[in-house]
Symmetry: C3
Subunit: 138 residues, 3 copies
């Protein structure tokens, strides 16, 4: 009933937005499930999973808005804990959250035409991220 | 184990907030499941699913805050991609996200007394939205 | 296939952040499931579930940012509905949302090393919260 797939993705950090829709569709395809949910989860506290119309201008817009809402260049108390500089990354990730559940039917993700599943990496440096794609269904 | 229900909802856009709790409760009722989850998902990249105490004043408050956080009347690079005017709609939807998982037990959604499941339509025009209600359980 | 656990947690409100990871891990442990999802849900419209690196400075940072984004000391129309003072609590909760789905495999939650599951209580007073931990899997 439950299957796990894992993909590794390189990111540039700094609200890098990566389209992972094909990875999720591939997991659904490979699974022996016709109907169910894909739970997409990124371990770590400075990244998140959501959907967006994945086009370069909107990706820049979301970086700009994140910078306005939770600025990276102000002092966070968290920076004193570890000598880190990624307080804003943690807060953005806690708001957007690391988990997304997407239904599929007849092996098709029920996304809109202009809706892609994305990893947002808010960390302040390049990262390699592992993404869990869990398929539950029948 | 998996059942799908679909409802169509007319919205006015512009952070229109629509109470869809009864639709989700009806799907749970109609299903042959006693215990499980309702995955509520809106296909599309300018709408989201969340919960709120659904009362008219709070609905206005959330419109006001969304306008303050992600203003609709500033220029987004996305507007140059398609000649659209809904950059703010996309960003709000990516933050609030299109998916919500609600547990139910003995056919009752485990919501709080003042907690309703809502569609938030952030698009800048009237829309008809299809909402997927997927019931997984036993 | 579906099991329910409930925990009660006392909070101070005002964006109190409570680490509930151990409660979720305990539910997975007690369940008769090896692989699946833990759906963590807080009934109520002024609290949310997410993940964070749980350390005291970052907890203060997130309180500060929430206060900046959705201030508690401005007038909300909602305050006129019930004579309440928690308009900001509702809006914060609707954005961060009451539900989080976390995969587990071989009875281990697939969290990052520095990633804890937390309840955020945005209400303006002390509360006792019941949290639903639903285990679905095999």
């Amino acid at each position: 009933m439950v299957e796990f797939y894992r993909v590794r993705v390189r990111t540039k950090g700094n609200t890098d937005v990566i389209d992972i829709t094909q990875h999720v569709a591939d997991a659904v395809e490979k699974s022996n499930k016709k109907d169910g949910i894909a739970v997409v989860f990124v371990p770590g506290s400075t990244a998140a999973i959501t959907t967006i119309e994945y086009e370069p201008n909107l990706v820049k817009d979301i970086k700009n808005i994140m910078e306005k809402l939770v600025p990276s260049n102000i002092e966070y108390l968290h920076h004193k804990t570890w000598g880190d500089d990624n307080g804003s990354s943690h807060i953005r990730a806690s708001i957007v959250k690391p988990s997304l559940t997407v239904p599929f039917q007849n092996k098709e993700l029920l996304l809109g035409t202009w809706q892609q599943i994305v990893l947002m990496d808010f960390d302040t440096r390049e990262r390699e991220r592992e993404i869990i794609i869990q398929i539950i269904g029948e």
